[in-house]
């Protein structure tokens, strides 16, 4: 189950793959409960010595879960938490509706034009290639994790996906390196993630623990019956709910529940495409005299980010041409200029954001690039479950609110609950308690 110390040695490409860990910066590896291995930053040691406050916050991300799935009968624990706490039916993921940017928004409380993390995949002009935003240095701003650390709190991250482990790097006081990793999906099954979360709480009792449970998303991506029976997806819902139940039971059994805020949400939703409903923009753009050889596409499943790589003087004309050509392609919902104010995406997101319709997916640069049926990133996957649970008196019980909330509201909510301040420039989100 847990990885022994030796197994986490720098250089293992499956668990390394992450510059921050590979470089071994001030990283301590420590065996926790159940033989699990956690890493801890030396710099955080004083905080461990000076714990403060009894309040605890647990942010549980049920990755890729749709709000209606909480009412499917397959997730009784999540439903009980939702109905017994403060439920936000209008909650949404924010552009681009992908895992990395929304997890970053949860912990930074700011939108991608400030954080520098607009999507899972972007075109890195310096490297000259499309890559995941999985480096700790990709996040340009501080997170609530670091602010808590500086204020003397202990923090922990238990993130099932390798790229999340990478992007959050060494920020938390205590970190679990996901293992064992499922080939292709690049994530640790929820049973292991939950085991790690339980062990981290019992061993280190962080004031904030940030947990990503990846099964619902990962099995959803691969579910060939996603448009009909959703066999794999339904199995994942049942399984993940059991893991949440384990975690909540631990909180109750150890007396933590009464002093806890449990934030439960998804980072995005999920949509399934038919095998024939593929959108490949690359040949369309390459056939245009202006655009040929001067664009790059970062495929994010339900959204394509198109980058103009030609002369700066032609950028405006190119953006107009990209939008015109993309909008005419079957299955495309909209092609927005990246600078559209409502998107709040920075230059990392390129020049044009193209969304697909429900039931479609992008596959760029060619039709073989994206074979998976389950996708997100487009507006059909914006709606997410989001509720505040926990036994702390500050958490309303059995209430729903029509307030419009989003993933970016998590950090200010956590900060407000634990009593730390806002970053320079303030939060883009709002505290929900």
């Amino acid at each position: 189950m847990g990885r022994h110390h030796d197994a986490t040695v720098a250089g293992d490409p499956r668990v390394g793959g992450l510059d921050a860990v590979r470089t071994g910066r001030r990283t301590l590896l420590r065996a926790g409960a159940g033989g699990l291995v956690f890493s801890a930053a030396v710099a955080a040691a004083p905080a461990i010595a000076a714990p403060r406050g009894r309040r605890r916050v647990y942010v549980l991300v049920v990755d890729g879960c749709r709000p209606d799935e909480i009412d499917s009968g397959l997730t009784p624990t999540l439903k009980e938490l939702r109905d017994g706490g403060l439920h936000f039916p209008r909650a949404r993921s924010l552009p681009v509706m992908e895992t990395i940017p929304n997890h970053v928004m949860m912990m930074t409380g700011v939108r991608p034009d400030r954080s520098g993390v607009p999507a899972n995949s972007v075109y890195d002009a310096e490297l000259g290639e499309v890559r995941y935003l999985d480096q700790e240095s990709d996040v340009r701003v501080g997170t609530v994790i670091e602010r808590l650390n500086r204020a003397g709190y202990r923090t922990g991250t238990v993130l099932s996906k390798e790229y999340l482990y990478g992007v959050f790097g060494e920020r938390a006081t205590h970190r679990w390196e996901p293992a064992p990793i499922v080939p292709i999906s690049g994530h640790a099954p929820d049973v292991f993630t939950t085991e790690a979360a339980l062990a981290m709480v019992e061993e280190f009792d962080p004031h904030l623990v940030f947990v990503n449970l990846g099964d619902i998303d990962r099995l959803g991506h691969m579910d060939l019956t996603g448009q009909s029976l959703q066999l794999a997806r339904r199995a994942a819902l049942i399984s993940t709910d059991l893991q949440v139940q384990r975690f909540v039971t631990m909180l109750r059994d150890t007396g933590r529940w009464e002093r806890s805020l449990v934030v439960v949400l998804a980072d995005h939703s999920m949509d399934w495409s038919r095998p024939d409903r593929l959108i490949t923009l690359t040949p369309v753009l390459e056939a245009d005299p202006l655009l040929a050889g001067n664009t790059v596409i970062a495929d994010n499943g339900g959204a394509d980010l198109v980058y103009w790589t030609g002369p700066e003087a032609q950028r405006s004309a190119a953006v107009a041409r990209i939008r015109e050509l993309a909008s005419a392609v079957d299955g495309v919902l909209a092609a927005h200029p990246r600078t559209k104010p409502r998107l709040r995406l920075g230059p990392e997101a390129g020049d044009v954001v193209v969304y697909c319709k429900a039931g479609w997916r992008f596959s760029d640069p060619d039709v073989f690039a994206n074979p998976i049926p389950g996708n997100h990133g487009h507006p059909a996957t914006e709606r997410i479950p989001f509720f505040l649970a926990g036994g702390h008196p500050a958490v309303p019980k059995g209430v729903a609110s029509s307030r419009r909330v989003a993933t970016v509201d998590v950090a200010p909510t956590v900060a407000s609950f634990l009593g730390v301040g806002a970053p320079r420039g303030g939060y883009d989100g709002r505290a929900l308690l």
Binding site: K357, P379, A380, R383, A400
Partner: protein, 577 residues
């Protein structure tokens, strides 16, 4: 409310003497929330000849008072004055009349917050319509009018919550299809008895155009209360008189006086099965140009209804009915006009591929774009659509041939041989429905609820994206259909006792339309819609025999949709039980 939870098969009823609910008070101008209306004679006879005419105020204000289209800071106030006996509705006679209006926060008008003076006269059939502005949001107000020494009855109204407010709930009475000839408006009385509503949503067929005896009670078209004028209404004077007759009904007056109305028209406010350039019940050779008839119908509607057409309470500045009303962050109501812009219904539905022709429309292109903008998650949580005709796809193909005709008569189908669906509804304009549902799906629109009237029966439907595979797959939202106040339904046409012959028809339709979760072809009554952030719930209440002026009310069914699901579940108890 005195109604108890009952089973659909054996409703428990609460007989209520007609006069017992019409307590004095409002008619004197000091009655507050209690209802102040005279007895049934006022409704049966010509306008102003009943008990209500006994006091000076009632002689002048014999058509009652009304309010509508609540905004956070404004509400439309309405009345009509009869300054002289000659100033009869539709007469074009009578003097100019000055009318003052007052809005207060208390029923005794000690705290008047707004007042003003307006002129009316025969050019507008002596109606008065004021947009009272400068009001506070989510607040109950009392209003009245004065002409000379005559005071109107006192009306009560309520403004909408502020745009960013988070109201705990929102509760509407929901009603449609009130044919005065077919019975008494006791359903309106049942709604007026409640004290827990915020507004009343009327989904169309507020009045009927038919001549006396043209469309009455049951299969024999028995006339319970004859229409005025006796002939089919065609001219402006006709429409004005018909509005006046309906507005003389004490049950309708009571409901208007107690709650703001939010209205849409369907076809009978002009004439049956209306479309852009004509109507089934319009014969140009005898009745003139359709455009002229529709114009006068709309003019009379604008004069007599507490509604903003083209966004204002002014007359003559436009007749655009489709509009939005916002209720904080909890809900927004988009009200549709599905008669003025639609293409003609197809004549032979089974054979005519035009039902799915992308060039045909039920909404018109401008209204469709507006409706899609309305269904934006940024606007409010519940996207309510006041939808005059059903949007859920319904096939009647499996019905036995002998039942086709009565079902057709109920739901408004055209000729009877093997029709698979009702082409006067969205089923006759399937490309518009496809476009709308695709928009909902593509944009991730959540909590869309279509509120519908028109077909004289109660329905609760989910709205599948793929009818063939449903219930596997997702739903675009739900549709909740209220039954008629009095207009005939299936049992009336079959002359069968309630809950007998219709049961088989309902079972067949539901078996062949798995998204139809509730169907009641038999009853008349009203519905109550309650919204919270968690769910939207509709309760169906039924009245006793429409022929009787005495009221009995029973709860028959409740269905709810939990937020985010687009699915329906049965609920045991009505709200406020």
């Amino acid at each position: 409310m005195t109604c108890d939870q009952t089973s659909p098969e054996q409703p428990r009823t609460s007989p209520l003497p007609r006069r017992s609910v019409l307590a004095g008070g409002l008619a004197t101008g000091a009655g507050g929330a209690a209802l102040a209306l005279a007895g049934p004679a006022a409704a049966a006879g010509p306008a102003g000849t009943g008990d209500a005419a006994a006091k000076p105020g009632n002689r002048v204000f014999r058509h009652g008072v009304a309010s509508g289209d609540p905004l956070p800071g404004a509400v439309v106030l309405w009345t009509r004055v009869t300054p002289t006996p000659a100033s009869r509705p539709g007469s074009g006679r009578g003097p100019k009349a000055e009318v003052t209006w007052e809005v207060a926060t208390d029923r005794r008008f000690r705290r008047v917050v707004r007042r003003g003076k307006v002129s009316t006269g025969p050019w507008r059939d002596h109606t008065v319509k004021v947009d009272a502005t400068g009001l506070d949001p989510e607040t109950w107000y009392y209003y009245r009018f004065r002409h000379g020494r005559a005071l109107s009855p006192v009306g009560r109204t309520r403004t909408a919550p502020a745009p960013n407010a988070l109201p705990e709930n929102l509760r509407f009475g929901v009603t449609s299809c009130a044919n005065l000839q077919a019975g008494w408006f006791t359903a309106y009385r049942g709604l007026a008895q409640r004290d827990d509503l915020h507004a009343v949503l009327h989904l169309g067929d507020y009045l009927y155009e038919y001549p006396s005896g043209g469309y009455g009670y049951g299969s024999a078209d028995q006339v319970i209360r004859p229409h005025e004028p006796e002939h089919e209404i065609v001219t402006l004077a006709d429409y004005r008189q018909r509005h006046a007759q309906y507005k003389s009904d004490p049950d309708l007056q009571a409901l208007h006086a107690k709650y703001p109305f939010i209205v849409v028209w369907d076809d009978h406010e002009s004439t049956n099965d209306a479309w852009r350039d004509g109507a089934e019940n319009h014969q140009p050779e005898a009745e003139g140009e359709w455009a002229a008839r529709r114009n006068v119908a709309h003019r009379a509607y604008d004069e007599w209804m507490p509604v903003r057409l083209s966004g204002t309470a002014k007359l003559g500045d436009g007749t655009a009915l489709f509009r939005r009303l916002r209720f904080g962050q909890l809900a927004e109501l988009s009200l549709l006009d599905l008669r003025t812009y639609r293409d003609q219904q197809v004549a032979v539905p089974l054979l005519d591929p035009a039902v799915s022709d992308p060039d045909r429309t039920i909404t018109g292109r401008r209204q469709m774009k507006w409706l899609k903008d309305s269904l934006d998650n940024r606007r409010a949580q519940w996207k309510l659509v006041g939808n005059p005709v059903m949007i859920a796809p319904v096939t009647f193909a499996a019905l036995p041939k002998d039942l086709i005709r009565p079902v057709n008569d109920t739901v408004g189908l055209l000729p009877a041989d093997g029709l698979p669906y009702n082409v006067d509804q969205w089923d006759g304009y399937t490309d518009d429905r496809r476009e709308l549902f695709e928009h909902i799906r593509d944009r991730g629109v959540q909590d869309a609820v279509f509120l519908t009237g028109d077909i004289h029966s109660g329905w609760a439907c989910e709205l599948p994206y793929d009818n063939a595979t449903y219930p596997i797959g997702d739903s675009a939202g739900v549709e909740l259909v209220c039954t008629s106040v009095t207009s005939n339904n299936l049992k009336d046409i079959l002359s069968a006792p309630p809950r007998t012959a219709s049961l088989a028809v309902e079972a067949i339709i539901q078996a062949n339309n798995r998204h139809v979760r509730y169907l009641n072809f038999d009853d008349h009554g009203f519905s109550v819609l309650d919204l919270t952030a968690q769910r939207a719930q509709m309760d169906w209440f039924v009245i006793g025999d429409r022929k009787s002026p005495d009221l009995t009310v029973s709860h028959t069914a409740s269905w709810a949709t939990a937020t985010g699901t687009g699915k329906l579940t049965r609920v045991q108890d009505p709200v406020g039980a």
